[in-house]
Amino acid sequence: MTRPGRDEDPDRLYTVTGGRSRSAAGAEAFDLVTLVVSESAPVRGMQSEHAAILRICRFPTAVVELAADLGLPVSVVRILLGDLLAQGKITARHPRRARTADALPDPDILKQVLVGLRNI
């Protein structure tokens, strides 16, 4: 692993984001588990992070996972995703967790069904 106090990457994050610290798409556009899907293939001459995102997101990928893959902080990945979203190269899908949880049958009902089945 890297020694502490050493930095093995010449890319500074402000050059990756062009000096921006907040996403053009707004903070709420992407949360940690937003699924990102690329809409186009990477193009030559693209910023390498953008290309990498498009490549990884051929399959729906969560923002945290992108960050882990790229080795970048989530906030920086959000900024990059904001760029791509503005260019229409990706789409974002929010997992509707709350609604799904609501839609799932109540445990009590399931329990009753189970009991009913056993009683048959």
Partner: protein, 572 residues
Amino acid sequence: MTSPEIPPPPASGADGTAAGRSGPAAGGDPTVPAGRGAAKGTALALLISIVVAGAACLITVQTCADSARTAVAWGTGAAGAVLCAAVAVAVHARLTSRSLRSQVAAAQARAAERDAADARFADTTVPGVVERLRRGGSAETALAEAPPVVSEAQRRVLTALAHEVHRGETLRAAAMSACANAAGRVQALATSMAADLREMEHRHADEDVLGDLLHLDHRNAQTGRIADSLAVLTGARSGRRWAKPIVMESVLRGAMGRISGYQRVRLHSTSEAAVAGHAAEGVMHALAELMDNAANFSPPTSEVHVYVEEVAAGIVITVEDGGLVMGDVALRRAEQAVSGEHGDLTTLSGTRLGLAVVGRLARKHGLQVSFRPSAHGGTGVLLRVPHELVTEPRHEERTEVPAPAAAVPPAPRAERSAARPTARRQDNTAAVHSRQPERAGPDVQRSPGHDRREDTARTAPAPPPQEFGESGLPKRRRGQTLAAVARASATSSRLPEPAPGAEQADQRDPTAAGEAAGGPTAARSTPRPSGARFGDFRRAVQGAGTEDTGRRSRPSDSSPARSSSLSEDDTE
């Protein structure tokens, strides 16, 4: 001589003998004062001429008639006296001039000799001494090794010079090493601070904090560049060495990040080449100086464009600005500065260090820098990185674009439609699988859960990484969790589930949990690793919600679940 009528001959003859005798004396011994030699010679000549004239007078008086004897005696006596005086004067003058001439010649010879000694002193001795002092010798050593000097004055000059030069040299060396040392410390601080800042940037997600950190990071990088410049100029070790080749994009961004106006720099690069690790820092630094120049000498609103071109002899990086066109004189001065001909700091102007730094770096790494008018109206600088420093990047993402694009152009859309439900389903199974080991611990009787746990344990720790990279080699991704790896290994051993099934699952979203609960095998065989991975993350990120799902799907899946279903039965 014997003829009585002509007195001069004897006189001239006497003169000749006198001259013949005094000549060698005057010439042979230049140290004899001219006056004495001349006086001796003159006296001799006078004596001889008196004798001869006297004899001639006597003979003439004897031979002439008695009547005229008195007159003749007076006449010849007077003539003899005059003759003698004339001879004496002539001989004296001749002797004096001769001795003076020889003295002049001697003085000239001495002067020439002294000139030669002076020339030797100036051309050989002094430069030799200075050279020895420059090489670090002490003043005494240098003076001892110097060839002997002829005069006391030269010796004094040489001593004073040696001490003065030695003092200057010591001062210079001390100043240089102090500067180099200080620069090295600042470099080290800047480097470790950069690492700290990066770590903090990873730690703080808040946008305001991140903004501040990025700002600090930028300032720190500029500080680092100035320290690097000082280190280069003072001949210290360059700041950093990268262990791996650095791809061109990173080199450009690393360079651009070190200047104040980095947001005005536009990179146009499609090059995938990389610069060898040992030279990458130098190239970055030289580029940063050139970009800084370009940004400083162009209007603050204009952009600086950087182009990369791969040529046979290496890589040419062009930095173009829209500022002023350099005049002839400035151009010549700039070219001279970047040529790196001057090894020392004599041409340094004090305020403009950039080009001198570029020159030093260019000489060190064999870079070539040239200037030309820019298409953007300003000046363009071309930096050529020689072929020896260019390598292929040691990167796994080389085959990025063609393969997937050609293979599955419309895939993403179709997959996306199927991805979500399966992702959810996978979520459940993933929860089940990953929960196996920890769950099995507290609330389960040993025997039924044991084999199952062992199974999981066997597949989990040493999973063959089953996700294949584009290069055809198996590849483990960084964010991959234990459960995902285990499942991936299971998945790869089975045939992928046909897509229609997955699409059907779309409609049966609420039942997905039940389906997953019904058969772990069916759920495992879904070819949706990314969905499953997402599930892992979702579970990791949101604790309670998914845990519910996991618990709900757990009962019929495995032995640990049975305990809970039993307990449910008990509660009934």
